[in-house]
Amino acid sequence: MIIMKPRKVTVTAAVALVLSLAAAGCGSDGGGGSSGATSGATNGATSATNGAASNGKKITVGIKFDQPGIGLKTPDGTYTGFDVDVATYIAKQLGHSPDDIVWKEAKSADRETLLQRGDVDFIAASYSITPARSEKVDFAGPYLLAHQDVLIRADDDSIKTPADLNNKKLCSVTGSTSAQNVKTKIAPNAQLQEYGGYSECLTGLENKVIDALTTDDSILAGYASQPEFKGKFKLGGFKMSNENYGIGVQKGSELKAEINTALQKMVQDGSWDAAVKKNFGPAGYQNEPAPQIGVVVS
């Protein structure tokens, strides 16, 4: 018995060790991207401060990972969306090949912090230019003028004007600007269901528990363009707000001017139109013409 006890301990210890090693292995596997991202960020930050981003150096870009059509990380590890295309073009103009871009997730609440800490070189993540944000970070662009709109079932004819929304059941993301607009301006009498993400709203929209999903038309067009939703939903086409998507950079960063030049070039050589068509086209999205750099439509 006395011998048995230490053996049990040994076995437990061995199991614990193996498990922890396995966990560590998984961790480094999954975290590979993020550790790469941090080193990329330091590289990028130094290059940004030196003012000269030379070829072959990594550049770290913050994008959304969960918004189809805007910024989406696909299961096979590639990135698609309008923001991704714009960011890739900008990076190319700054002297970075697409392989040198380190993508980093920039959730809405984290964007200012990521820039202030220098974790990313710039952010293209459906980032609306607002006065409160402009105090914290600088914006290049805008590169897209989006409007708050609704996504409704393709066979729903009862919503023709924004006024029709007042006796409908709407859905949006908790705390988002769109959700706040519904409560204060657009449809104060409507019932508003708030969820953590747009996907939950889409389930309700399909089940007819919810009549309309509301947020920026670019995001809605991205969802409606997904293969699994094709033909099921349509955009309302109401321009209920103006959202000027800008490229966020650190306050006082020299990148702002370079990115503005890159954006102008992107519009001139037709890449901008191609990116819009590619990402939002299938939803029948009527996009605004490319915005003038530095002109924020309020």
């Binding site: 908790t174 988002s176 269901q193 953590g196």
Partner: protein, 221 residues
């Protein structure tokens, strides 16, 4: 420095948090006690159900449970819990989900309390002819409750903080307001600090009070 607080109904949001906590605490105390009674009952079927419930529910992430109440119960199965508008439905679903989750922990805390009651007491109660419900209600549970006030205070504090998950289905409690403020104000750290302070204001007094109660009522053996 705290100008950004203007125009937000901070107290209202925390009041919803308090309400969520209150209803879910009462609900999970009742349901958790029933579960604990099942787990110590002489009926194998009840014991099996209690064990299965606790082991399944406490191992599911709370977010999954809360989102399921809305997507699964409400949107797909049409369960509205007797309410008409989204606001009330969401609130009741959140209370339901929090109760279902927390009662598993209440049950386990209570069961540990039941184990502190010496076996001799149960045997004595049975010897004078009390049946199982009487043994439980008259002899065991009163002593068990007195010894688990401390652990239950822990569960209550955890519940208070867990109510923030209800923001995932749009209940307008503190965490939902925090998301609104972060969206508008670009003041991540200060806003987080304000809400962390708000939760400390709720949980610290509750913990201190229940700690005092726990010392007051504990059974001296």
């Amino acid at each position: 420095m705290f100008d950004f607080l203007k125009g937000y109904d901070l107290l209202g949001a925390f009041w919803v948090t308090v309400q969520l906590t209150f209803y879910a605490a009462v609900g999970s105390l009742v349901w958790g006690t029933v579960l604990a009674a099942m787990r110590v009952s002489p009926v194998p079927l009840m014991r099996g159900f209690g064990t299965a419930y606790v082991n399944v529910v406490r191992n599911i992430p709370l977010t999954v449970i809360i989102v399921f109440t809305s997507l699964g119960l409400f949107q797909t199965l049409g369960v509205t819990l007797g309410a008409d508008d989204f606001k009330t439905i969401d609130f009741r679903l959140a209370v339901f989900g929090l109760t279902a989750y927390t009662s598993a922990f209440v049950c386990e805390a209570l069961r540990s309390g039941i184990n502190t009651v010496p076996v001799g007491q149960t045997e004595a109660a049975r010897a004078i002819g009390l049946r199982f419900p009487q043994v439980l209600l008259l002899v065991v549970l009163p002593q068990a409750f007195r010894s688990v006030v401390g652990p239950l205070a822990n569960v209550l504090i955890a519940l208070t903080k867990n109510t923030t998950v209800a923001a995932a289905i749009g209940v307008a409690e503190a965490a939902a307001l925090m998301q609104v403020m972060i969206e508008n104000e670009a003041q991540l750290l200060l806003i987080s600090a304000v809400f962390a302070f708000g939760f400390i204001c709720l949980t610290l007094p509750a913990g201190l009070f229940l700690g005092w109660v726990s010392r007051k009522v504990s059974v001296k053996r």
